[in-house]
């Protein structure tokens, strides 16, 4: 798992991951790129991350991937990420395509639901929590 201040260098990350696994005999490599869209007059999105819980979430996914002979990877940005740049990339390597296609779907969807990352719109230099696009994590409401 890789965390960066500001936008991701997508080509460098994907190229490096490809090189790292060049001799691993994986038949499938499925990358996913999340790019900031220009909408609602935002200048950027901005992110807070709680790394200790994110690392545990990612470690659990590495174990799930390992159980089916695959590898998961991810990188995410911290702080401001301007429109048309990338805040999030992930990837799956596996021996055959079917495992990788199913795993990238489950991995990215669970990421959206349970990775401890908070998103803010940046408008006129101000950070506004994206409350209406955010999802309560599994187990929410315990203390209510």
């Amino acid at each position: 798992m890789e965390l960066y201040d500001g936008p991701l260098n997508v080509k460098e990350i994907f190229g490096r991951w490809l090189d790292e696994q060049a001799a691993s005999n994986y038949g499938a490599y499925i990358p996913f790129v999340g790019t900031i869209r220009a909408e609602d007059d935002i200048e950027a999105l901005s992110f807070d991350i709680y790394e200790p819980v994110l690392q545990k979430w990612f470690d659990e996914w590495q174990e799930k991937a390992k159980a089916v002979g695959a590898v998961v990877k991810m990188a995410h940005a911290i702080g401001d990420v301007p429109v048309h740049t990338s805040s999030y990339v992930s990837a799956v390597f596996s021996p055959k395509r079917r495992v990788a296609l199913e795993l990238i779907d489950a991995f990215v969807e669970d990421f959206k639901a349970n990775a401890p990352i908070w998103k803010y719109d940046v408008k006129n230099g101000e950070r506004i929590y994206a409350a209406d696009r955010s999802t309560p994590m599994d187990g929410s409401g315990l203390l209510a």
Partner: protein, 73 residues
């Protein structure tokens, strides 16, 4: 004494309290009106591990984190 910290957009400083279980933490946090809009949609971690049981016992020095709704990517 345990510490309760509020993550992400909950603009609130960490607080310390006496609590034997997470149920005690719940009782005390519900007295704070600034948290009323948050508690029903927040998840909870104890020493960076997610927890789901109000009966979870706490010990001196434990750290409880309150995690509001997320949106990565």
């Amino acid at each position: 004494m345990i510490k309760v910290e509020f993550l992400g957009p909950i603009a609130k400083e960490a607080i310390e309290m006496e609590a034997a279980t997470l149920a005690d933490v719940s009782t005390k946090l519900k007295e704070d009106s600034t948290l009323s809009e948050w508690l029903d949609k927040c998840a909870v971690a104890l020493n960076d591990t997610m927890v789901n049981d109000l009966g979870t016992a706490l010990k001196d020095g434990d750290r409880v984190s309150i995690l509001p709704p997320v949106c990565g990517g």
